[in-house]
């Protein structure tokens, strides 16, 4: 692999020699072209001819111009085998498995959490008794931002939007009597540092219960884009160090917990923060490329790392664009894995993804309209062939979803799965002149943006320099103006707005001081009972490892074994790497 060349250059060089077999015969194309010109000039109205191409403006849309009609002429060189093929075979445009949803329907994964570790445990047991096969935990904000429940930063917010985890004892409480060797756990750790701190607590909990690590299955998010770019926080470390921790986590988990998914390349939160669907995918792919390049540098086999990479996407309102996007990125990731990284195993070339419908596209005005928006977005994700789905609830513009709204989200998924029959046929929109043309266009645009990022020095550099932050800020400001001017239509807000609109009051999950007190008391007891000298030795060793460049997770594991807390480990990272501030803040 020549690191001087960009991904696009490599793909262009390696595919240049392949001979194409056009599906349409040249004579037919010639006839269609002549007929098309006649029809366009004599049948189509003058004003439609003048506005032949229209650019849709939508929340988070990619503003790809659309013609009035699509024909074989939009994709005259289509080579069926090379561009589409069959599902389960290269280039995987039509799906990564031959039977797609006939073999296994999409996983209906709804996120939950809130309350104490004990309450979370009770809720998980109830879900498992009702047939859930895995658990999906939302962590509370203090845990996500890596503060202990008794730090001043956690004041007023412990256990409000997820479960708090300060130490191994909390992991033990959450997983009490749950068969962790049979039930997979999706732990939404978001950030590399958070993953490095809390995942070892899960491993130590298993160890204390006598469950071998190779029996554990599940996933963590572990995405440095989330930590250094997307989130807002009071503390950051430099993006380069954060990227390294992301890679350390991947390496450690791959070696020691073989069934665990160690990274979810998260486009979702970036897009929801404020980018087009093209940038969302270009950034996640660029991070994937950077991870694999770093792992190759560390001497690892590409297939060994690549086969467990997964992606997370946000579908917004432009229906066909969303279907085409998932198909486009599936084909592009295959090409990157095959030609740039020369992967050998089919599994390494699969773009596997979880999809969550777009929260930002939901409105506070007339919240029931959000049910419709989410249902169309979910349908687009299924038509695109997503592996796993979360449907946002109609009240998410107000709060964490109510139980009633969560159930309606699950019902939305079940109606798509059991009633609409869209899952019976693989890639049902494949072959549509329009969808294939849009798929080609989106793939080309994603690759353009991957190329731009590489020419600017790569994903870590465009985050560290603030280039990506500024790109998002520009998007947010421009989009806001387009909503205000009515160029982007939002039904109920700026389009057909009810003049007598009333905002409904809603119930929200209130802060419970009792849980916060229990968490503080438990930490006070822990700090009295544990071997504090051992804790300090482990924290000091972690700091040395950070500076030396050793894999940090081996050391956070020792900290967890000594019952060090999340906040104690976070402070070591800051001490070792120094603080960093994103360039959008003054």
């Amino acid at each position: 692999m020549n690191s001087q060349k960009t991904t696009r250059q490599i793909l262009e060089e390696k595919t240049a020699a392949s001979e194409r077999v056009p599906l349409y015969n040249p004579e037919a194309i010639k006839n269609i072209s002549a007929e098309f010109e006649r029809w366009k000039n004599t049948v189509v109205r003058e004003q439609d001819r003048q506005h032949w191409t229209v650019t849709p403006h939508t929340m988070l849309g990619s503003e790809i111009p659309r013609e009035l009609i699509y024909t074989p002429l939009n994709n005259a060189g289509l080579d069926y085998q090379q561009d589409l093929g069959f599902s389960g075979e290269e280039p995987y445009t039509r799906g990564i498995h031959p039977n797609v949803y006939r073999g296994r329907t999409f996983t209906m994964r709804q996120l939950f959490g809130a309350g104490s570790p004990d309450e979370c445990n009770k809720r998980m047991k109830t879900l498992l008794e009702h047939g859930a096969t895995g658990t999906n935990w939302a962590l509370d904000l203090a845990t996500v931002q890596m503060f202990d429940s008794d730090e001043p930063e956690a004041r007023g917010q412990v256990a409000t939007v997820g479960v708090p985890i300060d130490c191994v004892a909390d992991m033990e409480a959450i997983c009490q009597d749950i068969p962790i060797d049979k039930v997979s756990a999706s732990i939404v750790t978001h950030y590399p540092r958070n993953t490095a701190i809390t995942f070892p607590m899960y491993l130590v909990m298993a160890e204390r219960r006598g469950v071998p690590w190779d029996r554990l299955a599940g996933s963590v998010q572990n995405d440095f884009i989330m930590e250094s770019l997307v989130r807002s926080a009071s503390e950051y470390i430099p993006p380069r160090d954060d990227f390294r921790i992301q890679c350390d986590n991947i390496e450690f988990i791959r070696k020691n917990v073989p069934q665990w998914n160690y990274v979810t390349l998260n486009g979702y939160n970036l897009r929801e923060w404020g980018t087009s669907g093209v940038t969302e995918m270009a950034v996640a792919l660029s991070n994937g490329i950077a991870i694999l390049t770093e792992m190759a540098r560390r001497g690892h086999d590409i297939d060994w790392i690549a086969e467990r990479l997964a992606f997370f996407w946000a579908p917004a309102n432009d229906f066909f664009e969303e279907v085409a996007r998932i198909r486009a990125v599936r084909r592009l990731w295959y090409k990157i894995m095959k030609y740039r990284f020369e992967a050998k195993k089919p599994r390494s070339m699969w773009m596997r993804c979880h999809v969550q419908t777009s929260g930002v596209s939901l409105t506070r005005e007339e919240p029931m309209n959000n049910v419709i928006r989410s249902a169309y977005q979910a349908l687009a994700a299924v038509l695109g062939g997503a592996q796993s789905l979360h449907v946002d609830s109609y009240d998410e513009a107000y709060s964490v979803p109510s139980e009633e709204a969560s159930l309606l989200s699950l019902r939305t998924q079940q109606i798509i799965e059991a009633e609409t029959q869209v899952t019976q046929v693989v890639d049902p929109l494949g072959g549509s002149f329009y969808v294939e043309s849009l798929t080609n266009e989106i793939e080309a645009r994603i690759l353009d943006e991957v190329d731009e990022i590489e020419r600017l020095g790569g994903i870590v550099e465009v985050v560290a320099s603030g280039w990506l932050h500024r790109k998002v800020v520009r998007h947010i400001e421009r989009e806001q103006k387009m909503i205000e001017s009515g160029e982007i239509k939002v039904v109920g807000r700026n389009y057909h707005r009810d003049p007598n609109l009333k905002m409904p009051d809603v119930r929200v999950h209130e802060f419970d001081e009792n849980i916060a007190r229990q968490m503080r008391d438990k930490l006070a007891r822990l700090r009295q009972q544990r071997d504090n000298e051992k804790v300090n030795r482990c924290l000091a060793a972690l700091k040395d490892a950070c500076r030396r460049g050793d894999n940090v997770m081996q050391y956070t594991l020792e900290c967890a074994r000594a019952d060090a807390t999340e906040g104690e480990m976070r402070r070591v990272f800051i001490a070792a790497f120094g603080a960093w501030k994103p360039p959008i803040y003054g």
Partner: protein, 143 residues
């Protein structure tokens, strides 16, 4: 009394754990467009937000919140503002997602206005009006 600067200066901040900032970036853009000077500092503890507001000599402190804690942390912010003597001279605003029934309590704490779903004109005119009121009451107090 020293001549006040002509541009309204707004400090925009979030409480420590807030992970969303699309709202505050949007509002920062709106206020800049309206000719105000905006200092976007990101997340910090209430007492440190007040210290920065004093250093920056801000007319307005705007807080964006999505994930709860607005009552406890809003109270801490106001307590700190009172202790440092800027509660009466500064306009305090809070916007984002929180239970509508908390609006009254936030006003009691000393926030001039709270926003759940506001448009550009509403936010800008609210700030202009509140700053003008603070200035005129400061002048009448001085006289």
């Amino acid at each position: 009394m020293a001549q006040r600067k002509s541009k309204i200066k707004v400090l925009l901040a979030q409480f420590p754990l807030e992970s969303h900032n699309r709202g505050i970036i949007t509002v920062a853009g709106m206020l800049k467009d309206a000719g105000m000077e905006v200092v976007l500092i990101g997340n910090d503890l209430p007492e440190r937000i007040i210290e920065t507001a004093i250093q920056e000599d801000a007319d307005v402190v705007g807080i964006s919140t999505y994930c709860g804690g607005e009552l406890a942390l809003g109270a801490d912010l106001m307590k700190s503002a009172a202790e440092k003597g800027i509660k009466e001279s500064t306009v305090f605003l809070l916007g984002g997602i929180f239970p509508p029934h908390n609006m009254a309590r936030l006003k009691e704490l000393g926030f001039s206005a709270t926003f759940l779903a506001a448009d550009r004109a509403e936010i800008v005119s609210c700030i202009q009006k509140a700053v003008a009121e603070k200035k005129s009451s400061a002048q009448s107090g001085a006289a």
